[in-house]
Symmetry: C2
Subunit: 390 residues, 2 copies
């Protein structure tokens, strides 16, 4: 999606991909096969472009820092990526800056010889259950373990120790709504903030986004201000995504990602300027585009691979017969549970846009996990055999 | 732009380009270097894909017909392309179907030993001036010669004879407004029609598009009906563009193109479904998307290379500082007069969207030809030296 935006602006791109079959490698004009974890490969990329940017955080931050010191333009910087990649650093910096985060403690590092003691002490102060999180490497619900008691915590701590993972412990925040906000920020600090959205997460994975969703306008506005502050603290350049919990009274920052984010895919059709275009504009230090919504209500539903391993591309006809459904398929090999695409619908009525977005996603064969309530009249899909065009 | 839409839908593409530096070759995932005029190349393309489609008409129709006879799926068909490529065939078929076209006569073919006699006879019936047109190969004002008298006609006829061109002669239609309509049509005949737009043409080249522009609504609706009829007569599959003249009382069809068209670039942001997405959906025989406009007013201004040969990519910052300007650059090597991009703006006020679209186009260095009246407050550009990012 970043490459589609680059193509529109006439910006030349070089894509680093580990495999020629990767979705991005199939769209990019020039592809470097390689890994951002391998010095030779990353140096080759840096030498080939004016600006290095990212669509994930699984990079070698030390190496990136070296490249920056040698004069490569890396946006966001290694320091900003570090904060997003390391939940402990992020929690500490944000709370030092006066931004509300869940009550937390770092456990399992060198200063804490017995992690379980630290968890027990934290639970003593904040009560059970608590949430244990891997300090690094968590993503889409991976690396997050809610635990009801000390026995369960002991199991997670033992497993983490055997894998060399450092842990955080956090209070289990009573969530009324989950929110997300995108900020695009230029090197000089100029930034724009998209409208706050409501997200529906199941097991830490975003299933749908509603714009503006059910959140009170004042809460959305406050989340936008918080996200703008987070971008300043992180020193991000490009798009930064902030995920927050609303408890009914308070907003706390849960996650931060320094890249275009799944909770912002709705901006392709639902905002005047998409997150992908503004990410490019930001990292190229060009004026940022208007983040205003292009319709009163927008719904975006993610499409995941079903148990049958069926390719949603074979079911495009059904999805495209839904009026106003903007279908995006990522060209990934279908696997059960893999995020393969999304559907966005914009309109005047929140129930209507949600119904249409789900109708198209169901036509594409997405499974419906517990925790998602389908719009009235829709049922889990019955999908026929895939077919080839024409 | 077609490839950007294909990427979003997850549709795999193979691009045939004559040169790896061609704009489309720089975006396509798989590129066949070759020519649609060379049998080997076209056969290689047809063997690699499920559906062959086009973004220009400069193809070998006889060869395409052979491939179709052998079972290749070619959309639009060679027969439909033939009608768009051959102005004489197009004029004859449309007028036989009761669709108004300018008064015309075919001259300079085997049945007319002296073309100039035919021109004189036509002018005797319809009066001078007349317009001479090449039956094939005309594009963007090339192959069109308005002539005031017999002496000028003689010059054009002589030049055409020396180049082996066949000619049409037409009345010079008194034009009050120039219009364009896009139709997307599936193999079974299902079609959608976008709103009629007003175009500003200078020397046969489209400079800007206004949606809906100054045309009376009833005229726009009638033009839409005419275009739908044209698509049926042509038997088009994919997008068909119809350019019309409005005389103040009558609508006549001027040109027909069986592909996504420059007068439809506004649909990328200005319509629920773009011409590029619906072209793909049509040629893949998938349900067509909603062609409704996404804003009350849309303006789109083309960007041409200036006399200095400066690359508009170096002036992106100025263009992107215009609020709501959607900038598209095609990645073509800049040459004076070459179409290098376009800018689209949508909004509530026709004067405002036009002013912003022109402001961004001027920032990109587009020259302003005689015949275009700039919006108040804008002046021809003063463009600085191109710069590199960052």
């Amino acid at each position: 999606m970043l490459l589609e935006a680059a193509s529109a602006l006439g910006v030349d791109t070089v894509v680093m991909a580990e495999d020629r079959a990767d979705a991005a490698a199939r769209v990019g004009s020039r592809v470097l096969l390689g890994s951002p974890l391998i010095e030779h490969d990353l140096r080759e990329l840096a030498a080939a472009v004016d600006v290095v940017t990212f669509d994930h955080e699984l990079v070698d931050l030390e190496l990136l820092g070296e490249l920056e010191a040698e004069g490569a333009v890396v946006r966001p910087s290694a320091a900003a990526l570090e904060m997003a990649a390391d939940k402990a650093t992020m929690r500490v910096r944000l709370s030092e800056a006066g931004i509300a985060v869940p009550a937390f403690a770092v456990v399992g590092d060198a200063r804490t010889p017995d992690p379980l003691d630290a968890v027990a002490a934290f639970a003593h102060r904040h009560g059970w259950p608590v949430v244990l999180k891997a300090v690094r490497g968590g993503y889409d619900g991976r690396g997050v373990w809610p635990v009801p008691d000390l026995a369960a915590a002991a199991e997670v701590c033992a497993a983490a120790a055997s894998r060399g993972l450092h842990l955080l412990v956090e209070e289990l925040v009573p969530i009324e709504l989950e929110l997300a906000v995108l900020v695009a920020r230029r090197p000089g600090g100029q930034s724009v903030v998209w409208p706050t959205v409501e997200t529906t997460q199941v097991d830490g994975v975003c299933r749908e986004v509603a714009v503006p969703g059910r959140l009170p306008p004042a809460v959305g506005a406050e989340a936008g201000r918080v996200a703008g502050r987070v971008a300043e603290v992180v020193g991000s350049v490009g798009v930064l995504a902030v995920e927050l919990f609303f408890t009914g009274t308070d907003l706390v920052v849960n996650e931060v990602a320094t890249r275009p984010h799944n909770t912002g895919h709705w901006t392709i059709e639902g905002a005047v300027t998409s997150q992908f275009e503004n990410h490019l504009r930001a990292v190229l230090d060009l004026p940022l585009g208007d983040p205003s919504p292009s319709a009163p209500h927008v719904a975006s539903v993610n499409v995941f691979g079903g148990a049958s391993g069926q390719d949603p591309a074979g079911a495009l006809a059904g999805a495209l017969s839904v009026p106003g459904a903007h279908v995006h398929l990522y060209g990934k090999a279908p696997r059960p549970g893999r995020k393969l695409g999304h559907v966005t619908v914009r309109g005047d009525d929140p129930a209507d846009v949600r119904r249409r977005a789900w109708a198209a996603a169901l036509a594409l064969g997405t499974p419906v996990p517990g925790g998602v309530e389908l719009p009235p009249g829709l049922a889990a899909p019955v999908v026929g055999a895939p077919r080839r065009w024409p």
